[in-house]
Symmetry: C2
Amino acid sequence: MVPYIDDMPRFTHPRLEDVPLDLALHALADSNRLTMVARLAATERLSCTDAAPCDAIPKSTLSNHLKLLRAAGLIETTQAGREMINTLRRAEFDRRFPGLLDAVLANRSA
Amino acid sequence: MVPYIDDMPRFTHPRLEDVPLDLALHALADSNRLTMVARLAATERLSCTDAAPCDAIPKSTLSNHLKLLRAAGLIETTQAGREMINTLRRAEFDRRFPGLLDAVLANRSA
DNA sequence: TTTAATAGTTCGGCATTATTGAACTATCGA
DNA sequence: TCGATAGTTCAATAATGCCGAACTATTAAA
């Protein structure tokens, strides 16, 4: 009934200090999610479908991957119209786990 | 019947170039395995029980964790008497995934 | 202002993966 | 040879992951 205010995040995002290392690694330990993170690292703001690693992946699976990335403190999602806009929480993540994301991204598909 | 020759590895170890990044990350994405890897990074050669993160963990679980680390190219296991000796495949892993293990270990329990 | 289309989320069932007790194998020491 | 040690393997249960189907919210068109 009450409509969403545009900037009001519909999702809960953890504080980075509450994210354990193994959770962060788990979120990155999947080639589809890795691709999504790499895209977000390159593109700043992406809707869920645009962040998808390919179009073969079902919507529900995609939604689940993004939920996991959110829980790991890797992305922030806010609603804008009917799209959900995702951005990498790069600075915060790097502050929490210095050098980790760089190392992972540098080794992607190597 | 045929006894094990001491230096003959009883286990199969992958070539590092055959280990995909997500498998390596998956192996590291567990706090027990992270502890084991950190111990091996500090101690060079450890039996399975000595590599264990704590003594509460069942033998079969421990064995399974080590199998996973082996499959990810992180450790090498050889038999010596009735013990299995585990060592980190540090140089090889670093050559395959430069900076990754360093970044992970540096961020452990931070 | 219905109606339809779009962009997702959530739910529930099936499949895969993890954990662990129990039984087994191999080696060493007495 | 007997017992203890250091593991592995197996099988059953528990926990996770994947995805189709149904649902919600927003926008656009009629």
